[in-house]
């Protein structure tokens, strides 16, 4: 028992305790860093009216788009890549490693790099000019319609290696006879992937979906580095965590005033959302897996 204590102490002090007090604190009024009286659900109510509501709903929508975008762009493409690598078997370890390399880089570096590449008169613009896909300046990072999707694409570039590795590991665990039988039946590679491999990949899909969900709803670094903590332009790349940061650390409205009560209420809701959806996702996939085997 004694052996467990140091880990337990550090974990409780720096993770469990702050989290618990944060949840508790969302029911109180705050002045600066000082907790005032109990106000019940007031903070939560304030989240859903002006001036918070447009920010909250916007940030939530962006997180949902982000999740959907990553699921399709990163995990979908990642599955295709993994399958292509799997079919080719040997000699693909190098490609796997190369694909995964961006994932060991800090999102700060990735964001800063892409920000430089994507500026007007930058590398991407020059490339698009050469390919004849664009004339004039490349301004997508300043365009409130496109900026969010650019960030999602950069995030997918960053983490593409993850689904590739997880899916190839998943594919390798499938009995080779299964593929053999399907091939003898004359099924094409695409069909084999869709109707034979995919159902067997449920555990991989499950962990990827859950991971993607947790990561997108914690998204902060890329937005901060590429668009600033205000989620420029015009909050079009704002996420729940950047909004939380602004409320908690005085960057909302840029005058250094915090609204801890509102921040903690947002944190509590986000905590509930993350926990409930994560558990639901795991349950959902678990049931699928059981039924299939």
């Amino acid at each position: 028992m004694l052996f467990v204590l140091p880990a337990l102490a550090i974990y409780c002090l720096f993770v469990v305790y702050p989290l618990a007090t944060s949840l508790w604190g969302s029911f109180f009024e705050w002045k600066g860093l000082r907790m005032r009286g109990f106000v019940g659900l007031d903070n939560f109510a304030r989240l859903f009216v002006d001036p918070s509501w447009p920010k909250l709903s916007g940030a939530f929508a962006h997180n949902v788009f982000w999740f959907a975008g990553i699921m399709v762009l990163q995990n979908g493409l990642g599955l295709v890549f993994a399958y292509l690598l799997f079919l080719r078997g040997r000699g693909t370890a190098f490609l796997q490693s190369a694909f995964f390399f961006p994932a060991v880089l800090s999102p700060v570096i990735v964001g800063a790099l892409w920000r430089l590449l994507l500026t007007p008169d930058g590398v991407v613009e020059a490339l698009l000019h050469k390919l004849g896909l664009l004339d004039g300046r490349l301004t997508i990072l300043g365009d409130s319609t496109w900026a969010l999707w650019v960030l999602i694409a950069v995030d997918a570039w960053n983490w593409m290696g993850l689904p590739v590795l997880i899916f190839t590991a998943g594919l390798r665990q499938i009995q080779p006879e299964v593929f053999e039988a399907a091939r003898l039946d004359g099924a094409g590679a695409g069909r084999v992937l869709w109707s034979i491999a995919l159902p067997q990949l449920i555990p991989s899909i499950s962990s990827l979906t859950t991971l993607t969900f947790i990561n997108t709803f914690n998204q902060f670094d890329l937005v901060y580095v590429m668009q600033g903590v205000q989620g420029n332009p015009n909050f079009s790349t704002d996420t729940l965590v950047t909004y939380f940061y602004r409320l908690a650390f005085g960057a909302e409205g840029a005058v250094g005033i915090t609204d801890i009560g509102l921040a903690l209420a947002l944190g509590t809701l986000l905590f509930l959302l993350l926990t409930i959806v994560t558990i639901a996702l795991l349950r959902f996939f678990e049931r699928r897996t059981v039924r299939l085997t």
């Binding site: 974990y11 430089l116 590398v123 570039w157 590991a169």
Partner: protein, 279 residues
Amino acid sequence: MTNLDIAYHVKRLPGWVVLALWMLVVALPLYILVVSCFKSTAEIYGDKFGLPTSWTLDNFVNAWTKAQFARYMVNSFAVTGGAVVLTLVVSAMAAFPLSRYQLGWSSPVLAFFLAGVMLPIRLASVELFTLMKSLDLLDSRLGLVFVYSAIRIPFAVFILANFMRVLPRELEEAARLDGAGEGRILVSIILPTIRPAIAIVAIFTAIAVWNDFFFPLIFIFDDDYKTVPLAITTFIGQFRTDWGMVFASLAISMMPVLVMYLLLARQIREGVGATGGLK
């Protein structure tokens, strides 16, 4: 080569093209990064894709001296090293009894740790800030070491316990009969046999800590204690016009993970496949 072979290869060609295209998408930005480090800023604007006309190390020198990058590297190494060591030590100690003894409380405690793998700790940052303030751990590398260890312990305990559980019981029985204490058994018998697990935990902890930006952002204010990712964000705001220098600083800051990746790509690949991700 028979006709069948050729047909087989032709059929595979589109797949290779797709893979090669993505390889290009991954490699091109990194290529630009590398060549830009050696160009003057004027040349970066002028010729974006070519190799530098004259290879200069000025950008690296500037980043290192003008931006005092060395101290940020030292800070990052200190924090990462400290967090990896602390996480490994306490997690190994905790995983040992939780996985090797049949105790009533071990599985609830394990579940309690496991929950931490998914806890959104960023949302607790306000209270964490207050806590760090009262412990006088703000603006301190030691403070970051504690926070990172706390965040990484759940994952570490989970992985180490899983590996320890499957070890044969006889392994420690003999040592116990010889009168070895629990600590000795852990250090000289259990740990050497689960080296792969220790490597996975160490690698993933190191990557996660080295790359993190959020906690330095809220806990570190003095330039003397900033870690590399935090310094980078200040830095690009401050020296944005000097592109060569910014590229060079990005290259310097990815160097340690690059070296580690070149040495350990296989372990990392298998680790990710086995644990389902490191984020």
